[in-house]
Amino acid sequence: MSPVTSQTSRAGTGDTGDTAPEILLDCADVTVVGHPSAVEIISEVSLKVRRGQILGLVGESGSGKTTLGLALLAHQKRATTISAGEITVGEHQLLGRDERTVRQLRGRAVAYIPQSPASALNPALRLRTQLQEALGSAGADGRLPEGTTIETRVREVLREVALPDDDVFLNRYPHQLSGGQQQRVAIAMAFIGYPELIVLDEPTTGLDVTTQAHVLDTIRAMTGEYGVSGVYISHDMAVVSQLSDEIAVMYRGELVEQGPARSLLRDPQHAYTRRLLAAVPRLHTDGAPDPYLDGGTVPARSRSVTDSAEHDADSMPLLRVRDLAARYGRTTVLHDINLDVHRGECVALLGESGSGKTTLSRAVVGLHRQFSGQLQLDGQPLATSSYRRDCTQRRRVQYIFQNPYEALNPRQRVSELILRPLRHLCGRVEDPERVVAASLEQVSLPARYASRFPDQLSGGERQRVSIARAIATQPDLLICDEITSALDVSVQAAIVDVLRSLQQEGLALLFVTHNIALVSNVAQRVAVLNTGEIVEHGPVAEVLAQPSHPYTRALIADAPSFEAA
């Protein structure tokens, strides 16, 4: 067991002054074990949160942060038991009480905001019913202030999370709301019963940057107004740093470091915390260094990033997209797309969900067939469907998918996963073992992984195998569709390193992402996509330093970053 690096606990931050607020949540030596293997999922975790403060709980997936979050509600996931420890919220002791008492305390003493609002709201219930239900036990307990009915309380809390409070809205079903609105309804549900402590389990993961900024604002305003404490669970240091007074870092079921946010960010003690911090991509860089200028393999014609005008006039680009318009049925989702990708260059395609960036990348690889306009690879036109392209064309453009958990056939070993596409595209393979080992080495995986199945790999390792599968066929253009968005920040940094080294070997990349901070770490040029149009296009450093389009400016402003914090 690694020792907890404790820092001198400062009493609050800023305006709370000298007198420290009382401790609201006291969680002592909580241990959760899983059945039937008796593995400790979290071991002897102790936390204290003062009234009105937010504790950021950071860790990668599998570190036990959600299990701890649920334990704070005295809830045990299936096949797990809280085997030891004490949890006190205010004057209420949570563990060891009977189910009925605990249920009454939930929503009143402790409330929970889950990760996915879409699955947290019952799709069959109207918002009115849903919110009133959340108030049920609290209202019956007489906790509502004088003169407030359940109905008025529902409307009040909706106004507070900046949602409409009219009957039309209350009569809606969850699917009629956007993701951000759903999450704000979930926040309203949590706050409606005046809880003392709120557990937020990655409430903004899966939301767009702009929406995330709105939701974070709402959370900040609500906790301030109600004076409640929060435990904010996240894998993203940047988000946590903007919101929390204190930060606790979890690693493999243990608390490795805890301290006031500022001092922890400035001077992390534990090696793991330092690694987490280093992994967060910086927003303001001068764009990714051009690998050719970095002393990488110098190609025949050397060039620099900034003179993009020159290499437009230069010889044929590897991929040329002209006047592309794509549609689903009768709905046009992309229009007037013009984009060039040159050899050895990384072009980022930046946009939020619904901007059409995935449609564009799928059209390029031949998975989305409903489009018009020109698509050229080395001057040769590409057919709309991958089935009508010739073998060489299919080999030269490879695609890596967003979700590594779905992109690999779970019934094939890594070696088969790599070799099958290769055999399909290039015919018989001499010395397959060596090919597999070499591809794995290029993505920094050991050769012995060849005999594993995908479910024996972590998310990051799976994504590396996806990359290995694509580069084994020696493509010229790699299309990366949000390939890091399903991964933890620390894993994301490692994947970006792999991509950089591939680019140094002369591979061109089309990097599709919604993460503006990643763009500046990976790409040389960026195209900003908004509602099916490229609104801004240029070298990364220029676009990020002087964005000309209001949409780009909004994206940059909303991106979380702890450089500002």
Partner: protein, 307 residues
């Protein structure tokens, strides 16, 4: 250029023998469906029951004291010297007929179930993967076949053409197919949504190869559950057809037909009905328990936290 670079890496990469010899734990398949199912007590019990009945049907003919058609005593006697379970309605040895009468039932229902699941799986995968008009044609045709209750459809066809062994297998299999196809289509839809199918499409792998190599291995769990379920139904159907006289030609011994032949004298000679009924019941219950264990393992009930 990429080509040259990758080559150079390949020649340089010299996988060390240590890295090559992966430890056995890693190479072994992750806990499979069968092994997970074995963990459920019901699977063990079910397999035990099925194995008993199968053993009777397979080895029975070798152990039978008389031939199944030989007359050994007065009819409908429950207590005859030298006979374990007495005689049937025309004076044949019940025990010998019982031991000889299971194999046909077993073979018929097994081949009907296998055939039905194979055809159903093919239809389901094609419908689920290709979608569009093909999906509509297949599934609407299925709906038409589904409109006939299995037994009525089987009776209808068998009474028109006459009781033939191959006909029973085909009719039962065909009535199974649309039921299997619905389940497999749903399972296929879930797999097709995943990106590894798109990955294969993006490099132009042939459609039939995608169905065979990418989809089929990922729907084995529902397929196995479906096979167990259809086997159970087949046993019932074939036995009922035998009971109704649409199965074997007399005097061939057959469990279903035995029940029919001896039902009138059930009060004085219960053994001739009780033995085949018990065997069919045990077989069906056993197959059901195994199926249940498999489906529990497939869905992941009681899985808990591993490792």
């Amino acid at each position: 250029m990429s080509v040259r670079n990758v080559r150079s890496v390949r020649t340089n990469a010299d996988p060390s023998p240590a890295a090559q010899s992966a430890d056995p734990v890693e190479t072994s398949r992750p806990i499979g469906l069968f092994r997970t199912a074995w963990g459920h007590g019901r699977t063990k019990v079910g397999l035990g029951l099925v194995a008993t009945v199968v053993a009777i049907a397979v080895f029975g003919p070798l152990l039978s004291p008389h031939t199944p058609t030989e007359f050994v005593g007065p009819p409908n006697q429950s207590q005859v010297d030298g006979l374990l379970f007495g005689t049937d309605d025309v004076g044949r040895d019940v025990w010998s007929r019982f031991l000889n009468g299971g194999l046909t039932l077993l073979l018929l229902s097994l081949s009907a179930a296998l055939g039905g699941v194979a055809v159903g799986a093919l239809l389901g995968i094609v419908a689920g993967y290709r979608r569009g008009w093909l999906d509509n044609t297949i599934m609407r045709t299925n709906d038409v076949v589904l409109a006939f209750p299995q037994l009525i459809a089987a009776l209808l066809v068998v009474s028109i053409i006459g009781p033939r062994v191959w006909l029973i297998v085909i009719v039962v299999a065909i009535t199974h197919a649309p039921r299997v196809a619905r389940v497999i289509r749903e399972a296929t839809l879930r797999v097709v949504e995943q990106d590894f199918i798109k990955a294969a499409e993006s490099i132009g792998v042939a459609r039939w190869r995608i169905m065979l190599r990418e989809i089929l291995p990922n729907i084995t769990s529902p397929l196995l559950v479906e096979l167990g379920l259809r086997l159970t139904y087949s046993i019932g159907l074939v036995a009922v057809l035998g009971f109704l006289g649409m199965g074997m030609e007399p005097p061939t011994p057959d469990w279903g037909m035995m029940i029919n032949e001896n039902r009138l004298a059930i009060t004085i000679q219960p053994w001739a009905v009780a033995l085949p009924v018990a065997a069919i019941a045990v077989l069906t219950i056993g197959a059901n328990l195994v199926t249940d264990g498999l489906s529990r393992a497939a869905i992941g009930i009681d899985r808990g936290v591993q490792e």
